[in-house]
């Protein structure tokens, strides 16, 4: 028997919902509402949703902004550019982050806290300042170019800043910890006797990894990929500071619509489509993670990921 009764439970369950409703759902609905309006000069700079007209109230909603999204291929190219940049950044974070997480999980218990601390250390400085620091490093007369020139390795400064390279570097640098931490979590929860059992049964190190370690750390990999991909898609600061004229990312487009063109409804429409495009894969991944045997071993059906895992269990060179 619980001591709190149904009122207490209502409060416990209700408070987080109230919070999410007030600070997430309501703002989202406001953005949705603005996306259906028309740009106008005034305060606020968009037409009202409901207005009094003559005898009664009339509703003004228009899908014109969404129609424009499909007509002008700038938006489509920006969405695709964001997806490509974020996808590449996610892949690079995974390639760099998995070995890093693996090494930390395998490090001696004396070293592990220090190594984890180093992964989290960048968060102690403002994100903006860290991105600015990259400008100082990458610009034509920046630290890196000067060092390379001084070493005689190059004779003219390399174009390191304001291009695709610097954006990708900024994304990978900024989001790497979000990949490392969940994978480290999965790997450190792994029972060491499982890889020993694999070795005992004749699996060489590479097959121990493919057959046991990798499939059992997939929840961490999936979580890490989403933690990197989702914010990277909407990233504005990095393409704005490190990107160049040909960097096209949707966060930048959204910013320009809002602050340069003062077209709030268009900016809102861009945001609504972005949220909708990301929500579906996130929901799917969430369901996948919830079905992990590590979470709740109750007899829930779990065909989808079971197929996935069984394949990796059999994988091997």
């Amino acid at each position: 028997m619980t001591g709190i009764g149904w009122r207490g439970r209502l409060v416990l369950v209700g408070l987080p919902f109230l919070w999410l409703g007030l600070f997430f759902l309501v703002p989202l609905l406001i953005v949705l509402k603005i996306s259906l309006a028309r740009s106008t000069i005034g305060v606020p700079p968009y037409t009202p949703f409901v207005s009094a007209s003559g005898a009664g109230l009339s509703l003004h909603a228009s899908l014109a902004n969404f129609a424009l999204l499909t007509r002008d291929d700038l938006y489509l190219r920006a969405y695709l550019g964001s997806l490509a940049n974020a996808g590449l950044a996610t892949a690079l974070c995974l390639v760099l982050g998995y070995p890093l997480a693996h090494a930390i999980a395998r490090a001696s218990p004396a070293w592990r806290p220090l190594l984890l601390f180093l992964v989290v250390l960048p968060f102690w400085t403002s994100f903006l300042i860290r991105v600015y620091a990259w400008i100082a490093i990458l610009q034509p007369n920046g630290l890196l170019n000067r060092a390379l020139l001084a070493a005689g390795l190059i004779h003219t400064p390399l174009p390191l800043l304001n291009n695709g390279f610097s954006v990708e570097l900024g994304l990978v640098y900024s989001y790497l910890p979000f990949m490392v931490l969940p994978i480290f979590g999965s790997l450190s929860a792994l029972d060491a006797s499982l890889t020993e059992a694999a070795a005992d049964l004749g699996a060489r190190p590479w097959r121990q990894f493919l057959g046991v370690t990798l499939p059992l750390s997939l929840p961490g990999v999936v979580a890490g990929c989403f933690l990197v991909f989702v914010p990277a898609v909407g990233e504005f600061v990095i393409p704005d500071l490190l990107g160049g004229p040909d960097t096209l990312m949707i966060g930048k487009v959204l910013w320009d619509e809002f602050f340069e063109n003062h077209d709030w409804p268009m900016a809102a429409a861009v945001a609504v489509v972005l949220v909708a495009a990301l929500a579906l894969p996130i929901l799917y991944a969430q369901r996948w993670l919830d079905r992990e045997p590590a979470g709740d071993p109750a007899a829930r059906p779990r065909q989808s990921h079971a197929i996935f895992l069984d394949r990796s269990g059999e994988a091997g060179p």
């Binding site: 029972d191 006797s193 499982l194 020993e196 059992a197 694999a198 070795a199 005992d200 049964l201 004749g202 699996a203 060489r204 097959r207 057959g211 046991v212 499939p215 059992l216 045997p293 590590a294 071993p297 007899a299 895992l309 069984d310 269990g313 059999e314």
Partner: protein, 355 residues
């Protein structure tokens, strides 16, 4: 030729010698038990044989081949882990097939081998279950099947029954013996439970402080312990320590706390004045209300511990020397707490343990 030959193997972790100059040979087809308290080095020795750790000194030979430098995946040895270490993302059949897959066994032969292993441990109906859907006893069977699937020359079992409850443990122990006899594989069992070791193994090695203390059949280990440690670790024991004196006939032991010397077995050859330690198993003592013929001690029952079929009585001699007696409960009923009794035993039942 011995199947497993351990030659002067030592292994230290930092300053502690986990395994200290151990030599041991195990014959083909044996069910051998390594028995010792926790921290005695038995698990380290097992891990050295499996290849998870490398010895600092010494050699390990399996079936005549030196495997000391081989990694675990190249040794003809498999291990059943104490935690079972079943792969949680694979079902029972895939767990058993894991080792066969590594040696690239052809698909149909592999499936047949998995079937055979499932039948051996009576788990055929559970092939598609995941480990978390099995009970502890079922997991233990799967772990055994997985370790046996590759037909290792030597199977290492790390505390195979420790995770099971008592009733299941006895049942599983009998099954393990039956399976070992059927497959004929050499089993090396590590356990801290003396009952398990004595009841299962054809030979037992008792370990303490990183070294082997005694190696012998269960009967030898129990009836003729060679040290105070073995006598005390394997079962309960009464120990008498004292000085050898001449008696009529033969020799006796003058023990502090007893008002008369304890006659030693006729076969014992010692010089008077020498110190000696003798052991007496509690079930060898006899109790009576009247003084029996021959050697007997007076004592008082200070505690009676009823254990169902048998009872353990704690006695004290008038000078305070404690004695432990094991009797069938029916016989023990006549000796209540506080009762004065005569305790006696045939002198031949005493075992002289050097020191």
């Amino acid at each position: 030729m011995a199947l497993l030959e351990i030659a002067a193997v030592s292994k230290s972790f930092g300053a502690t010698a986990a395994v200290d100059d151990v030599s041991l040979s195990i014959e083909r087809g044996e069910l051998f038990a390594l028995l010792g308290p926790s921290g005695c080095g038995k698990t380290t020795l097992l891990r050295l044989i499996a290849g998870f750790d490398q010895p600092d000194r010494g050699r390990i030979l399996v079936d005549g081949t030196d495997v000391t430098a081989l990694p675990p995946y190249d040794r003809p040895v498999n291990m059943m882990f104490q935690s079972y270490a079943l792969f949680p993302h694979l079902d029972v059949a895939a767990n058993i097939a894991f080792g066969l897959r590594q040696e690239r066994m052809e698909r149909r032969r592999r499936a047949a081998r998995v079937e055979e292993m499932l039948a051996l441990v009576q788990m055929s109906d559970y092939a598609r279950r995941r480990p978390h859907q099995l009970s502890g006893g079922q997991r233990q069977r799967v772990a055994l099947a997985r370790a046996l699937a590759k037909m290792p020359k030597l199977l290492l079992l790390d505390e195979p029954l420790a995770a099971l409850d008592r009733k299941l443990r006895d049942e599983t122990r009998r099954e393990l013996i039956a399976i070992q006899q059927r497959v004929g594989t050499t089993f090396l069992v590590v356990t801290h439970d003396q009952e398990e070791a004595l009841g299962m193994a054809s030979r037992v090695a008792v370990m303490n402080g990183g070294g082997l203390v005694q190696v012998g059949s269960p009967v030898e280990i129990y009836e003729r312990p060679n040290s105070r440690f073995v006598a005390g670790f394997v079962g309960e024991v009464n120990l008498f320590e004292g000085e050898v004196v001449t008696a009529d006939p033969g020799l006796a032991l003058q023990v502090a706390g007893l008002n008369q010397p304890v006659p030693l077995p006729v076969a014992v050859i010692r010089s008077p004045g020498e110190a000696a330690l003798v052991a007496l198993r509690p079930e060898r003592l006899r109790l009576s209300h009247e003084r029996p013929a021959g050697f007997a001690l007076t004592a008082t029952v200070v505690a009676a511990d009823y254990q169902g079929a048998v009872s353990v009585l704690r006695l004290a001699s008038p000078a305070g020397l404690p004695l432990t007696v094991l009797l069938p409960s029916a016989a023990a009923a006549g000796f209540a707490r506080g009762c004065a009794v005569w305790a006696s035993w045939p002198p031949e039942d005493l075992v002289v343990i050097g020191r």
